[in-house]
Symmetry: D2
Subunit: 464 residues, 4 copies
């Protein structure tokens, strides 16, 4: 039984913390402390209580000591792993990120990664990560740091830029959806029962939420070669990879989509984009797939409004409260997330290959060294090493590079607190491609205004 300490930063208002606790509870051979740190202390307390319920659950294999820390330093002290999963500011600020641009004709499907919303969210998040990184460097420099916060790329960038020796990677499940989609392809084209996602091996590379699969195999079957035939059947009506959902269920649940964008991109570029369609569309010119809600509907996905998120969030908090107080039982079961599997591998319990976000040190030779890229990595005892990815087609490299370099520009602008440089990233966002420079400036200033309380401590100037 290996005894470890995990510092968990944030997670108070997130489903994800609970999923992680379930997975840990079901991980054999591990135990120790989970130190919860959240600026929302009641939320952390709630998680602690849920943790205790999980410990008491009969399905639980590994029991953990849950503690709530009011200081980051206390949580980090002695940590073997640090998990970061925060919501920068509140859904009110996210509402501005996502919906304010609409008056300029700019729509966002998610609004937390790139596009105007991604830039503003980065402006709030990076200064917090500067602090996390310097505290980790000071208090637990040997800990492995797992980031789940969006914007993923720029958070991971901050960690490495502030503390270059950090052992950090960014984890995201979006590529899993593409693997699930490929399971569907295998099922339909090979007339076999749908395989498990882990039976699909892929070579994916790009930036988070905009990765591309250049090679995909189920046993020795080339799955990409099956796509043209699959698309003859499903291109028009779509195909949802999520079990139990129909292709047009996206109309009621904006987290669903019909994969039509993905199929269209495959037609155009011959490689398979690997995140959910709602993410993909934000990395390309607005008029390609996200001109307005009608275009979105045509491409078989919907925009995720922040009102929808508010509803989801309050349901989740309510459920958490019920669970914390014992009025609703916890539901200890294994998820499809990989964090605990990766932790096990890092602890020396079996090699794993999975796609995560790390600084480019050669794994994507067409991206600048030091930019954060997502590729396969080998996880092994105290070691996460990127695997050299296949080159992407030139045209796709161009799309990826534009976003990667926008993020680098944005990061450099935030780091130096230079609004004009941040704006250079803002105006060059593909989702801003139909915006004139003057309008872009106006929008940028309005968006800053809307999230001002969370920026004023970090930036001297708050308009350009």
């Amino acid at each position: 039984m290996k005894n470890i300490k995990i510092a968990y930063i944030g997670g108070g208002s997130k489903m994800w913390a609970r999923v992680f606790m379930y997975d840990l509870a079901l991980t054999e051979g591990l135990c120790g402390e989970i130190a919860l740190y959240d600026i929302d202390i009641p939320a952390a307390e709630r998680n602690r209580k849920i943790g205790d319920k999980i410990n008491a659950d009969s399905r639980t294999v590994s029991k953990w000591k849950y503690t709530v820390c009011t200081k980051l330093e206390t949580a980090l002290k002695g940590a073997d792993f640090v998990v970061c999963s925060i919501l920068p500011a509140t859904l009110d600020e996210m509402a501005a990120d996502v919906h304010l641009p609409e008056k300029y004709g700019i729509y966002q499907a998610v609004g937390d990664t790139v596009g105007p919303g991604g830039v503003l969210r980065a402006m709030r998040t990076v200064p917090l990560y500067e602090y996390f990184a310097s505290e980790i460097a000071r208090v637990c420099p040997d800990a492995w740091v797992i980031n789940f916060t969006n914007p993923m790329t720029i958070c991971t960038k901050t960690l490495y830029d502030i503390f270059p020796e950090i052992k950090a990677f960014g984890c995201c499940h979006e590529v899993f959806h593409a693997q699930e989609f490929l399971c569907c392809v295998a099922k339909e084209e090979l007339n076999i029962p749908r395989p498990d996602r882990h039976e699909i091996t892929i070579d994916a590379s790009g930036v988070n939420h905009f990765t591309w699969i250049t090679q995909a195999k189920y046993k020795d079957v080339d799955l990409l070669a099956l796509l043209p035939s699959f698309m003859e059947k499903y291109y028009e009506k779509g195909y949802g990879e999520q079990l139990g959902f129909a292709p047009d269920d996206f109309k009621n649940n904006p987290f669903l989509y019909g994969n039509k964008v993905k199929m269209d991109l495959f037609k155009r570029y011959g490689v398979l984009a690997a995140a959910g369609d709602r993410h993909l569309v934000e990395f390309m010119n607005a008029d390609w797939y996200l001109k307005n809600p009608e275009t979105a509907e045509k491409w078989l996905y919907h925009l995720t409004s922040v009102d929808y998120r508010r509803k989801t969030q309050s349901d989740l908090i309510a459920e958490s409260e019920l669970m914390a107080s014992g009025k609703k039982p916890v539901n200890v079961k294994r998820s499809d997330e990989e964090a605990t599997v990766l932790i096990q591998a890092i602890l020396g319990r079996g090699k794993v290959v999975s796609n995560v976000n790390m600084p480019n040190r050669g794994q994507m030779p067409d991206m600048p060294l030091g930019t954060i890229v997502e590729t396969n990595c080998v996880f092994d005892s105290d070691s996460v090493k990127p695997v050299c990815a296949n080159p992407l087609p030139k045209a796709v490299t161009n799309l990826v590079y534009r976003n990667a370099m926008n993020i680098e520009t944005c990061y450099h602008g935030i780091k130096t607190r230079n609004l004009e440089e941040i704006f250079a990233s803002f105006v060059n966002q593909p989702l801003c491609s139909t915006l004139g420079v003057d309008d872009a400036r106006k929008l940028f200033n309005e968006m800053i205004q809307a999230t001002k309380p969370y920026l004023k401590d970090f930036y001297k100037k708050l308009s350009i």
Copy 2:
């Protein structure tokens, strides 16, 4: 007196050939043969006759033997230099390149470099350059090749890709305009007589027609540092660097402009874009500076219509005929072009530093190796070596890379005769940034149709 042979490919219908002949006539210590090869044989003949008149002119210092070759091989045989300056197809095809996109709301200021027009022009030009390059490899592999044809970048790329040992570079005078503009800045801000362009030293880098000056000096004065003060006075009303013209003369002459775009970009990025504004605007999102003719006017430039070019061209041909027949005297005088200066340097007559287009071998570390970039180069005896350029700001690197990689994609698509890959470059052109994918396809097909006779020998498929 050094005796050399220069093969001149094209130039029949161009002012430029005459300028080059004047410059050669005034170059001391050189003589030899100029072998004229043009598919328009009468045009070549006309140039030959003008050459003879130049030889007879009293101002002429060096006399040359002008010959007309009907076969490329004959022209190349024994050549020390090969000059390429062709018009691919006619102004009718160029009219389609430039004006057809207007019905989709896409305007072009020049239409021969990037944007939809640049892509179509490349589709016609690259196959011709494949032929030129293979003939040069076979017939005169040691010759120095000077390219003047647009699209400059992709022509130079073709030469090096087909014959990697070629000694070629692409020459363009657009950066000289930025140097002239800096002369104006020096004059206005230092209260001195306008300096000569050669007194301004710069570090410029980028791709042709989209280079950026990161450092500019007149003696030991930092000229970029003077720009803010200069712009306070001239940003609104503009400032034309061409002698004898007022800022708003662009209304009658589309080759003029008020440099307002250049000044605006300097405000945004802190470095000075180095080509004429009418070129620069084509490398950025349409809505930034080229939404429509009204926007153009607001930014103090006009679009160059092909009708305007037709008029200019027929005037030039008429003038050439008069000169060829002796009815109008030749006007032997030195131009501001540098080709003959560079030829002298290559012949071992003095080092020169000037900006030309060559494959990237490290001079722009942020661009992929092998892409064609424009930077300073040192010209010396049988040697043209790139000078390492200052890095560009990240945001500018991103703009340059997007265009450079579009050209790489376009080249690869043409090389492999793959229309879908060419289209991937087409739809990602910044000037197409407000175009949906379906409309882009339609436009692409229509433009191919309009230039079909010049494509059908090279491409199996002519629509996507």
Copy 3:
């Protein structure tokens, strides 16, 4: 049951073919044809007969059809895998490679990789591999090619240089010895039963026979951190990693050694060299560890004389004959070699991480792109992808680079049949570090003379 064809080039006179056949016989779920091609046809016939005996053996799980091909093309036709394992020329030529330099005071422990012997062996082998590569390109371009022949690096280089799209890698078991050695360290320092080699995970990188381990773990124990204490006990007397042997058994068996060189290098550089000591010493200045047989003995290893090899070889052939004729039973058992495991992974039956030789595409950022390097790779369905290795210490990078670039120089010299360039590699071999240039020339010429019959078809000039 997956049906495949394996072409086996060479192997006639090698133990290794037999080991491979045993392993294949014990691999579940595979069957098909093994096409044996060897210029020594009786040897191939012998292997075919042994194959039949293996098929008849009760322990055999998978039966294979063994065929002897007299033409390479026949063997390659339809092959899924090509295995190359040849002896270039005979042991007579190897005797010259190894022993001729002794009269100049140069001793070699192995003489088949680098040093004067390695260069001469490369001169004989590369032209054969040029032929293999061009036949593979023509006949079975999709086959996976596994090389076992030494000099490993230059053979793999030839394959990729002649046919860049080849799917090839070079396999060598030397790193396994370092893993075994680390098992011993774990056993001694942790007081546990000796772990299995596969429980040790490492990050190794370098060139074949000169790789370096920068990280080594047994579960979560850092094995390199245990070395200082281990060396206090065993540095002087040595420690043999081979089961059942004492540290000084190297005196009777030159394939054994006491790992004292490895321990000394760890003291000097802080990282663990990963091949057998007898290989390592050939990559460094002669006077460091291989001044003469007495120095070798001091460092607890012996030189492998070619007489010893002759004896071993004739024993092996005799044994093969007995087995082929059924006078001696075959001994079907699983070996420690990984070839069949890698084949299974490539066929989509489970990911494997193992160290092999491939062109550098970023996995060793300090080595030139395109040089052949040995690092971990991920083996998966139709895919072998290098894993980014830790950087080596600068001083070690320097030692590795020198050898890697010597091999590149040697390869380029052989490719262009330029003896002077081959000699530039020869004279710069670390084992030649005490040789003057004139003596080096003499020795080079004498060695060429000794192996002339195998060179004269390929090189116009046979002395410099």
Copy 4:
């Protein structure tokens, strides 16, 4: 008349300071202050007095104010240029550097760049340069810094590593000797009067004292192509490029040599090594050209003993004293050094191309980025930019890389005060190629002991 301040660090006991003062006195259009800083204050005073005599000389064009500063800060304050030219420790320590290794059979021709002497000298010099660099960063960060001190490469490395924004380059006249040699080749082979060095244009690259010329032109004549014929006549007897000296004058003056090593290397590699032979031999295995004094003599050069240097130095000091006191007239004449020409170019008075030492940023794509390399650079107003060099032959790249990486290792060892890492560089010096590891350790320790007083303030440990 441009008024500037030059801080001159060191130079007290050097001929070179006087040469520089003469050149400045003859430079039109410049004046200002020369602030002399030397730990040997009387030496600085002597130079100040000589400066005053120069000011009084009738040939002097530009008068300078010479001041002696006892604090570095005072000298640097307001400096436009900083010139560094120091002797680390005294000739006593240099005697140990050069002669102590002889008892181990290691001879050095110069002993101040690489080899055992170079390493020890670096150990003394780098800590001083750490101080200079941090003071320059603090006091005059915009000044241009010109280094003349050896070991050139590691001094320049220190400046850039401590203060990455520094504007520094290292100047060395050794390449000029190769240009002079090429003038001799032109004279002999073309039967023309010996051209001036500035008429020879070259592409040279490598590390200081070990650069290689890949292209050399006199007007449009390829000089390297003339070498084979030249060498037929002069290979055996040698050819001294220094005016007024016979090939065997090296016997009386160790600064002379017959260029036989240079010619031999050209035979072997096809490119021309560009420093004096006495420097070149130290970068290659001892037994190639520097086994012992007899070998040196055979190759037409002699070793420079430190006794010879002592004599020269005391003559120079005596002469300086005479000049300072007015007993001997100053001899104001222009030298062949380029420092003042480069200063003029940096001040915006004409472009110059010359070879200097700067960090590799792409000018030598085969060397690691950031290593200090010597190539052509363009000097212009406030700008020194490297020119992309031709690639060197692989075998030469290998020789250069080994030395460059030894220096990087040595620098890293000194920076981290890690004797074992410095030793890793020491034992891998080509001049140590016949030394066993144990003997190398002994020698290293003895050499440290001999120079201890100059090391003890910087290194905690003084033996390994």
